[in-house]
């Protein structure tokens, strides 16, 4: 386990206990006819390969190069994002919020783990952690520092707590020195954290 620091409660013995418990549950639900194991495989495959932050990165890169799309994204994100084929579960009602030199947006769900699945996939462990849910609304500048990012003191932090079924996507600022890049290359600069607001778009290719 690579990130045991963020995964405190799960010691390895505990993991195997959960492994047994979840296997028994799947066996039971399958025998009862409530779930179909192949459908479960397909759900996992979807979120491992098809649906992830690469979707959101495509949305952001398009907004960076296409003013009309950006305007559409900021006025009706659900429709603009759907036009690229990203719809559905945990992204039924989307709002996109743009970072500017004056305002930095950050998205959290203090009550559970609401997250825009169609554009970002499944949330990372830290997004669901007590530390993030507790701190983001009180000290977003400190949260950003936890991610190693510092913004000027005059920057306003605008935190969006996803308490209903509206899901938020941060449109990060396009990095300087990227005028020569095409849309696909720009998408490579868009990190998942930049679209949550706990990071910035990359100034250099990785």
């Amino acid at each position: 386990m690579s990130d045991h620091h963020t995964h405190g409660p799960e010691e390895s013995s505990h993991l195997s206990e959960m492994d047994i418990r979840v296997r028994a549950l799947e066996t039971l639900l399958t025998r009862k006819g409530y779930v179909n194991p192949a459908a479960l495989d397909r759900i996992i495959e979807t979120y491992e390969t098809d649906i992830g932050p690469h979707n959101g990165a495509r949305v952001v890169a398009k907004a960076w190069v296409d003013c009309d799309f950006k305007a559409w994204l900021l006025s009706d994100a659900t429709a603009a994002i759907a036009s690229l084929g990203y719809t559905g579960r945990q992204g039924e009602h989307m709002v996109a919020v743009a970072n500017t030199p004056e305002v930095h947006n950050m998205v959290v769900c203090t009550l559970c783990s609401c997250y825009p699945w169609p554009v970002l996939g499944l949330p990372p462990v830290w997004y669901k952690s007590a530390a993030y849910r507790a701190k983001a609304v009180m000290d977003p500048r400190g949260v950003l520092a936890d991610f190693g990012v510092t913004l000027p003191e005059k920057t306003t932090f605008r935190v969006w707590d996803s308490t209903a079924e509206v899901r938020y996507l941060v449109l990060p600022m396009r990095p300087d020195g990227t005028d020569h890049l095409d849309e696909a290359q720009l998408a490579q600069r868009v990190t998942r954290n930049a679209m949550i607001g706990t990071g910035l778009a990359l100034t250099e290719a990785v």
């Binding site: 459908a39 935190v159 707590d161």
Partner: protein, 224 residues
């Protein structure tokens, strides 16, 4: 419910610790837990707010000491036990000893993609005009319901400004009022309300911070 799930502004959890090397799932059981939770949600015997209520009402110490997918599994078992879909003995053994309960839908490989792509929109036609408008000052009610609510404690009693009006959405608090379908789907106007950091946190706040929540109309009252 004033539960431990309502974490905004709590202190003592330490810094946020991003993982150096992230993986989507840390063990096979996590991916199966996620998929079973999604699939059983699609079965239609509860809705998203009933699922949230089941997670939030786990014993506080259990909630705080469980990983997120463990919370999901505990809540999934609870939801099925409450509806007689499984028994405690069956959960222990994995062996079926009681007949299944009919469910609205069982996802299969052919129907998964469409189900995920459709989701469960909560927007409903508005039956009356919105009470509040963008720019209006509103106060979050000082309410402490025993049941499920989506108004976090840290904004209650505080005054903010309406920033967005989202149309009428199914009200979470009433979405849980019937445990089985057809669910109560009363909808209310939903607003994004922005609060100044110092209004919420006093001197502890960075004055350059603004925090919004999405609040249904019945969570709010007009303020000066």
């Amino acid at each position: 419910m004033n539960g431990v799930h309502d974490m905004g502004g709590m202190q003592g959890f330490g810094p946020v610790l991003p993982a150096a090397h992230e993986t989507l799932f840390h063990a096979d059981w996590e991916s199966r837990a996620m998929a079973m939770t999604v699939a059983m949600g699609a079965a239609g015997q509860w809705n998203i707010d009933l699922a949230r209520a089941a997670r939030e009402s786990l014993p506080p110490a259990v909630y705080l000491s469980s990983s997120y997918y463990e919370i999901w599994i505990r809540a999934l078992e609870k939801l099925m036990l409450e509806r007689g879909m499984v028994t405690a003995t069956e959960l222990q053994s994995g062996q079926m000893s009681t007949p299944p309960v009919p469910v609205a839908r069982v996802l299969n490989v052919q129907t998964v993609d469409a189900a995920l792509a459709a989701g469960s929109p909560t927007l409903r036609p508005s039956v009356r005009p919105a009470l509040f408008a963008v720019g209006q000052r509103v106060r979050a009610c000082n309410m402490h319901p025993q049941g499920h609510t989506r108004l976090p404690r840290y904004v209650r009693g505080h005054t903010g400004t309406v920033a967005l009006v989202h149309g009428s959405h199914v009200l979470a608090d009433r979405h849980v009022s019937r445990p089985l379908p057809p669910f109560e789907s009363h909808a209310e106007w939903l607003y994004t309300v922005v609060f100044e950091g110092p209004a919420l946190w006093g001197d502890a706040a960075d004055p350059q911070t603004q925090v919004s929540v999405d609040a249904w109309e019945s969570y709010l009252e007009a303020a000066l």
